[in-house]
């Protein structure tokens, strides 16, 4: 339960950032599972902004190898990626 709440909080923060930053996201009324790349909400410049946000807000470091669709194609995926990175850094 605690984990879900944390996950929801991450989703909300990402969602808020994306809606603020990308007008197309507001227009399309995106859901957390929507593919942000295929819908055109995010391009490479958008990903760059999103990565900066993720690194600053959640204190994780994103490597070039991690900049792949599996980690950034939807709000759900981004949140899951942050969770994984955070738990990895807590363990080390």
């Amino acid at each position: 339960m605690k984990m879900n709440m944390a996950g929801n909080h991450v989703n909300l923060q990402i969602r808020k950032f994306i809606l603020n930053k990308f007008p197309l996201a507001r227009k399309q009324q995106i859901k957390d599972s929507d593919n942000l790349l295929e819908s055109g909400v995010l391009d490479s410049l958008g990903v760059l902004d999103l990565v900066s946000f993720v690194e600053q807000e959640f204190f994780v470091h994103v490597t070039d190898d991690e900049l792949v669709p599996e980690n950034f194609e939807s709000i759900d995926r981004i949140a899951a990626f942050i969770e994984t990175k955070s738990s990895t850094s807590r363990q080390t």
């Binding site: 790349l37 490479s44 070039d64 190898d65």
Partner: protein
């Protein structure tokens, strides 16, 4: 899933390479220009890379570096221009693009090239460089001179545009009268329809500036670039003094726009103005606009402005990569003059 980058080596890989290029950069018929651009360049064949997805090794991106002989601080150096950079839309998460961009540095790091440069035309193209912490070296700006207003007014006003268009065209011509008088009387401007001969190589060697970077304009390069291009035709104007080649201009035309792809030579304070005046006079009845793309600091800018060209927009940024701590890297850090036109920006 991991992304890997791999050199394109085998001829059998060309079809896959072209398919990715065509799917993601559909504005060019890539197959028709492939041999010319990738293999027949007198400066050497292109380096090309695939970005591959995971274990399936599906190609999700490609890029290339085209070798380009350049004058760098008064010396000829082999450099490279990054081009045909394409990543499939489902993978534009920056990771594949960053890996491909890093791959383009390989010929520089191995010492095959003095530096490579890219000319991203839009902000999204800068995202990989921002990620890599590389700043642009200069901007390339579009300058335009309206010759006629017919087309513009016809689109806006329809059939009633005839009288206003005639008045507008007359106004533009009157505006240009004084500028057109700036041409030198001892220069003869004419069409050059033959191949580029060694006199062009000699002119290229004479025009040296110790703090500048520009493309080399050897006869071999000019013939390849402008006479053998399978997709484009170019017109060439020369300015001569008593038969000696002083300067030349390369033009590309569409129905309405004449693009000055290159204007190069010596005594530009007279030769550039004479060539520009000849271009304006020649096309002022048939075309709507003359345009040119010039880097910030290019000495040609002053002559284009004198001929009443106006700055319209940013067209590209130039971003160069040299091996850290190399002599070229230090030269680039000293803010050299990037003397670029469309000739250096087009891959």
């Amino acid at each position: 899933m991991t992304i890997s980058v791999q050199r394109v080596h085998k001829q059998s890989e060309n079809q896959e390479f072209l398919a990715v290029l065509q799917a993601n950069l559909p504005s060019q018929p890539h197959a028709r220009r492939f041999k010319w651009l990738y293999r027949d360049n007198p400066d050497g064949p292109a380096w090309s890379w695939f970005a591959l997805q995971g274990s399936s090794r599906q190609v999700i991106g490609v890029t290339s570096v085209f070798p380009r002989s350049m004058w760098v601080g008064g010396e000829v150096q082999m450099c490279g221009q990054v081009g045909d950079f394409a990543v499939s839309s489902s993978h534009r998460t920056l990771g594949p693009a960053v890996l491909l961009q890093r791959a383009t540095f390989d010929p520089v790091n191995s010492g095959d090239l003095a530096f490579c440069y890219d000319c991203p035309p839009h902000p999204a193209g800068m995202s990989t460089f921002r990620r890599l912490g590389i700043k642009p070296n200069c901007r390339v700006l579009r300058y335009a001179l309206p010759l006629r207003v017919d087309s513009h007014l016809r689109k806006r006003l329809g059939a009633v545009s005839v009288v206003p268009a005639a008045a507008g065209n007359l106004f533009l011509r009157v505006q240009r009268i004084f500028a057109l008088k700036a041409r030198a009387t001892d220069l003869e401007v004419s069409n050059h329809q033959d191949s580029f001969s060694e006199e062009f190589s000699r002119l290229d060697a004479v025009v040296k500036r110790p703090n500048a970077i520009r493309g080399r304009r050897s006869a071999a390069h000019l013939n390849w670039r402008y006479r053998e291009d399978p997709l484009q035709q170019y017109e060439v104007l020369t300015a001569r003094r008593r038969g000696e080649l002083i300067a030349f201009a390369i033009l590309r035309k569409t129905d309405e726009v004449v693009t000055i792809v290159d204007l190069f030579g010596m005594d530009l304070h007279v030769a550039a103005l004479s060539l520009l005046a000849a271009i304006v006079e020649r096309f002022q009845r048939s075309h709507q606009t003359v345009e040119a793309f010039l880097s910030e600091g290019n000495e040609l800018v002053a002559y284009f402005l004198k001929m009443r060209f106006q700055l319209r927009s940013e067209a590209a940024q130039v971003v160069a990569y040299a091996r850290p701590q190399s002599a070229v890297s230090e030269f680039l850090q000293r803010s050299p003059l990037w003397s670029f036109s469309q000739a250096e920006v087009s891959a």
